[in-house]
């Protein structure tokens, strides 16, 4: 049993805790589930700290300074965890915390037992003839079947709060997010719940923006002009592709100026679209408010660039349809509203297209998830058959990427239509 055993214990514990938390949310309460998960996290970090101390003290061929640094880091983490544990015990349900805390230890014991059992002669004798294995499996299934009344009793005694967030309900049109869970925990009348519910889409869009800022910031923390690290290389590759793409559309004269805006727009939209595929998250672009804000930003930037390139007089001349003759001047009262309408229609068409596609995609996922849950509704278990997987998830991935691409390409086309023609600009120089 080496360090890889502990790594396996960590992975198994995390999966087991996540799975158990679904049951606890459904049958006990969200607060209890939160305490249970925190307890398990506390225990896992504790194990990591212990592992650091042991590895630090027992690794051969290292100087004493490195040994002390490692062991000291582990000990500091242990002390910090003790303090956090004390705070958690005073604030949360101690039983739930202790049950969560015990999960990794239970997994260690079960794993050790299973290792002993699987390598024993008794197990080999038991599982060698395939008929006997099948018989054992059948016995297990019968045991679960016999335990049904217990499950039913748990269902009767269970808390109803968790099921409200379940997508199987006929009135539910959205998947539950972590904000829904917080709302359930605090109650719908709590001012924090009200605030979170009102600003849900903005919170998710800001979360995506924060992730983008952190990732870019980390990639640029120690930039090198030599051979870059893996992370810097990946980010640079994305930037280069986006640069080439938008310069390819806008041309080498005007293109580089708009790459930062259009590239950010693409990454921001694709991240927001894909965020809806992560459990307990939501696509902020499934709200018309967010897509309209994106469309308006593009509109404002395009108009600003129009004024910057043409000057105020040139811009008004452009809006009036470049009148040069008396007849054309006579047409200005007609051409001006036509031109303004045309300009206004562009951001609206952008926002509507993105909102419609992402909203539709989310609805499709909700419908199929709901169907998957209702198929197994008779079992009263808090999960269902993942009918949305992999066809609709694949479709959503494709559509999310495509819509982000379409939005940014059309935005670049709006810039293109406002800018003077590339060869005209070249002729001026």
């Amino acid at each position: 049993m080496g360090l890889e055993f502990l790594a396996r214990v960590r992975t198994t514990s995390m999966i087991a805790v996540a799975f158990a938390a679904i049951f606890v949310v459904t049958y006990v309460s969200p607060a209890w589930a939160g305490a249970f998960v925190l307890g398990a996290l506390w225990s896992l970090l504790n194990l990591v700290a212990l592992e650091k101390i042991v590895v630090g003290l027992t690794t051969p061929r290292q100087d004493s300074a490195a040994m002390l640094r490692r062991a000291g880091g582990g000990a500091a983490l242990l002390f910090a965890l003790l303090a956090v544990g004390a705070v958690l015990l005073s604030r949360l349900d101690p039983v739930a915390l202790l049950v969560g805390f015990g999960v990794p230890f239970a997994i260690i014991i079960l794993k050790a037992l299973s290792l002993v059992l699987v390598s024993s002669a008794f197990w080999r004798r038991l599982t060698a003839p395939s008929g006997r294995t099948l018989g054992m499996l059948a016995a297990c299934v019968l045991l679960v079947w016999a335990a049904r009344p217990l499950i039913a009793r748990a269902q009767e005694g269970g808390h109803g709060a968790g099921t409200e967030t379940h997508p199987s309900g006929s009135g539910v049109t959205e998947l539950p997010t972590f904000i829904t869970l917080i709302e359930n925990g605090l109650g719908a009348d709590h001012p924090v719940s009200h605030f979170l519910h009102t600003w849900e889409n903005v919170i998710f869009s800001l979360l995506v923006a924060a992730i983008l800022i952190v990732v870019t910031g980390l990639a640029l923390r120690r930039p090198t002009t030599g051979v870059p690290g893996r992370f810097q290389n990946a980010v640079e590759m994305v930037m280069e592709q986006l640069h080439d793409f938008f310069v390819g559309i806008l041309g080498p004269t005007h293109g580089p100026r708009y790459v930062p805006y259009l590239g950010t727009l693409f990454l921001y939209i694709i991240m927001m679209n894909l965020f809806g595929l992560i459990p307990f998250m939501k696509s902020a672009t499934s709200s018309l408010n967010i897509t309209a804000a994106l469309g308006l930003t593009t509109f404002a930037y395009v108009q600003f660039e129009g004024i910057r390139n043409l000057g105020i007089v040139g811009y008004l001349d452009h809006l009036a349809g470049n009148p040069r003759s008396v007849i054309q001047w006579g047409m200005v009262p007609l051409m001006l509203p036509i031109h303004v309408l045309g300009e206004l229609a562009k951001p609206i068409s952008l926002s509507c297209r993105l909102f419609g596609n992402i909203f539709g995609e989310d609805m499709l996922l909700v419908a199929f998830m709901g169907l998957g849950v209702s198929i197994l509704a008779f079992t009263h278990l808090p999960f269902g058959i993942p009918l949305h997987w992999p066809l609709f998830i694949g479709l959503a991935l494709l559509s999310s990427t495509l819509q982000a691409l379409i939005f940014s390409v059309l935005s670049s086309i709006y810039f293109l239509l406002m800018l003077p023609h590339e060869h005209e600009a070249e002729a001026h120089h």
Binding site: L341, I348, I413, L416
Partner: protein, 86 residues
């Protein structure tokens, strides 16, 4: 980064496709927007349904004008491509 002028641009196809893809939505959104603004003005000035009709007509005209400018742009791109071809 050099800019050889005679080299074919790699994303020219996407640019043309993007410009042409704008046409259907512009055809829907521009008249709707015109009608909506017209209806709002009707409500303010009590001229129902005249400004709505004017808005709708202007919306169609705006869509037509935008499509014409897109078409011109696409055509001039095509001509440039033809000139560049040997």
């Amino acid at each position: 980064m050099g800019h050889p002028p005679e080299k074919p641009e790699p994303f020219e196809g996407i640019r043309t496709a993007g410009m042409l893809a704008m046409i259907p939505l512009l055809l829907i959104i521009a008249p709707l927007l015109g009608a909506y603004i017209g209806r709002w003005l009707d409500g303010r000035f009590g001229t129902t349904p005249w400004l709505l009709i004017v808005g709708l007509v202007l919306g169609f005209a705006a869509a037509g004008r935008e499509i014409y400018s897109i078409y011109q742009r696409v055509q001039s791109d095509e001509e440039r491509k033809k000139k560049r071809a040997p």
